[in-house]
Every structure is written in C-alpha cells, then in structure tokens.
C-alpha cells in the first residue's frame, strides 16, 4: 500500500508531470507564469482542487451512477474551485487579482477532470489523494520553474528580488505573451531532450 502510494505520488513529479508530459491545461501555464509567485500560487490553488475533488470522487465512486458521472464530477470540481476563489479573495487578495479569471477557470482544467475520470473514479481514497497531490505538486513545480525562467530573464528578479545585479537590462520579451509561448516551447524541448536519456 505504502509502496503504491509512493508510486502514484511520484509519477506526477516526473514521469507524467503536467503540463509537459500531458500537454493539457496550457492556458493557466501560459497566462500566470509571469512570475514565480503567480505560478506557485496558481499551482497551489489547483493542487487544492485536485486533491479535494479526487478524494470526494473516490469516496463517492460506488454511489455515482455512470451516466451522470461527468456532471457529478463537474459539480464537485466547481464547488472546490469556488471555495478556493473565495478563500483567495479573502486572504491573498493581490494574488487573486493577478491570477484573475484563471482561478474560476481551474474548473475547466483538463488535468483536474482528467484525474477524476481516469484515476479517482477507479481507486481508493488514499491512492487518489496521493495521485492528486503528486499531480498537483508536479503542476506547481512546472509553473514555478517556468515562472522562474520568465521572471528572472524578463524582469531580472526571482520572487521579487534581483538576481543579476543592477547592470542587467531585463529581457522583457519573456514576460510578454509571445515570450510565454516561446519559453514553454523551449522548455518542452529541454524536457524531451532529458526524457530521452
């Protein structure tokens, strides 16, 4: 049991790390990675929704009739998304403003629904939590990494503090929309290169 938990947890960190391995849920990845802080914030919000919905779906997996399962999952996910939305608004307001529309949009994030459908609906609550946590942390790490690259090059800072010294002129392209696409594309290439070994 413990072994399989570890397995489910770690696969989300490398072997199936979203969004690099499963190229889904790209919009938040592109939109909120202007800085590390935004990226990690988004990642944590998504992780919360993932874990909670995975848990609930798994608990209810024998109760929910197959025909309405997608509808049920959507209700569950939407509920937790709204909880996150309200909580963030109340306690991390600046971050809430920066992430904007992308918080409610967690509800359509393919990863969340995907894990509910592909994993939680077939596995025990414990494993489902491990899966959700793994995927969520993997997602958070990806967003954080992308945010780190974009923020450091594009703004000269990481988590707001300068990293290249005062001489550095930020490569603003990186924090602009086109930079998001190009940067993600090149990181994907890097992952492909490493993954081959």
């Amino acid at each position: 049991m413990a072994q399989s938990m570890v397995k489910e947890f770690t696969k989300g960190l490398w072997a199936e790390i979203p969004p690099f391995r499963l190229v889904l849920g790209l919009c938040p990845v592109l939109a909120v990675t202007k800085s590390v802080e935004n990226g990690i914030g988004m990642g944590i919000a998504t992780t919360f929704v993932l874990v909670c919905s995975n848990l609930l779906v798994s608990l209810l997996r024998s109760v929910i009739p197959a025909k309405v399962r997608i509808a049920a999952y959507i209700i569950i996910i939407a509920t937790f998304v709204t909880v996150v939305e309200l909580v963030m608004q109340a306690y991390t307001y600046p971050l809430f403003l920066k992430l904007g529309i992308f918080i409610p949009l967690i509800v359509v994030n393919c990863i969340v629904l995907g894990r509910a459908e592909a994993f939680a609906s077939k596995n025990s609550p414990v494993l489902s939590i491990a899966d959700g946590l793994g995927m969520g942390i993997g997602f958070t790490l990806s967003l954080g990494a992308l945010g780190a690259v974009r923020e450091s090059l594009g703004n000269g800072t990481i988590l707001g503090s300068p990293v290249f010294g005062p001489e550095f002129q930020p490569f603003t392209f990186m924090v602009e929309a086109p930079g998001a696409f190009v940067c993600l594309g090149l990181m994907l290439c890097l992952m492909n290169l490493i993954g081959k070994k």
Binding site: I64, A78, V83, V87, G154, P170, E176
Partner: protein, 197 residues
Amino acid sequence: MREMINMVIVLTVLSAFSGGLLAAVKTGTKEQIEQQVLKFQKAPAIKQILSDVSNDPLQDRFKIMDNDQELTFFVGKHDGKPDSVIFETSGKGFSGDIGLMVGINIDSDEIIGVCVTTHSETPGLGSRAKDDPKFVSQFAGMKMDKNLDIKKNGGEIDIMSGATITSAGVSLAAKKAQEIYTRLKPEIEKQTAQMAN
C-alpha cells in the same frame, strides 16, 4: 427506473451539498473580502495622495449614484475638517483600462494628487505611470479649468517618453475626474459637510 431515481438523488444531494458549502464559505469570507479590496486596491493610492490627513479615509467614505454608476468617495480631513475627497476613475490604456485615484481639495478645487490603482500596462513602459513621480506629479495643483490632456492633444501634460498611450489614458481618467467632480460638486459638499465633527 431505480437507476433514474438514483441519478436524480445523487445529483440533487451533490448540488445541495455544494450550495450549502459555498453559501457557508461565502458568508464566512464576506467581511474579509471587502476589507481586502479596500486595503489592497484603494488604500495605498489614498495614502499616497493624502499623506497628512488626521483621519482614516477608508473609514470616512460615502457613495453617490452618478447616472447608473455608484461612485465611492473617500474623505480626507485636516484638523478634523473634511477638506478633500478622493475617488476613482478610469481611462483606456495600452492594454485595458487604467484605474486612477484622484484627490481633490474641495476648498480650492485643486487636484491634490493622482495615483494609478489598477492597470495592465507593459512592465517598464506603461507601468511607469504607477511609480514615475515626474509624470503623476504634473497633475498636482491643477485647477478644474485646466486642460489635463497630453500636450500632443493640446493639453498641458508631458508624456512619459515611450509610453504615449498610457500617458493619454491617465490624462483621460484625470479629465473624467474633473468632469465628475464639477458635475457632482453640490452633492459632494453636502455629504462632506455631514462628516465634519
């Protein structure tokens, strides 16, 4: 039939659970959210414009319906005398609206200062409107009859080089404030008078 009933029951229970949970969270966070909005969006701007007031403008506020728009005015007092109001307007920027807090002295009808609240301008270009003192300080001391447009359009405001559009947006917001203030002056005076203690 059994399945049908089952489906309806599950969805209803889920929805009820969801509605209940959300309603609870909503009520729990309502106060906090309002506080946060004031604290993060308005407070810094208000503080910057009215640095030497004796009251807390966030507390002393009133609302006026202007057409179908509700405007919130924050009142600043010097020595207990409410002599200035601050309210927010907006202008079209390089990418999206720019929110501008405008503080006006009721006695002299002069602008005390302006401050950008929300914007999504390019970092390093338009975003300088928020923290370039040279630019925003131009508005201070302007009377209501001054043309606050940028010089290119026949007004008195020097643009920030490299960000004409943002400059024009800020000017536009300030002009709007002039216009609103002039129109609502009687109402404003009535309301502030009540706040005198």
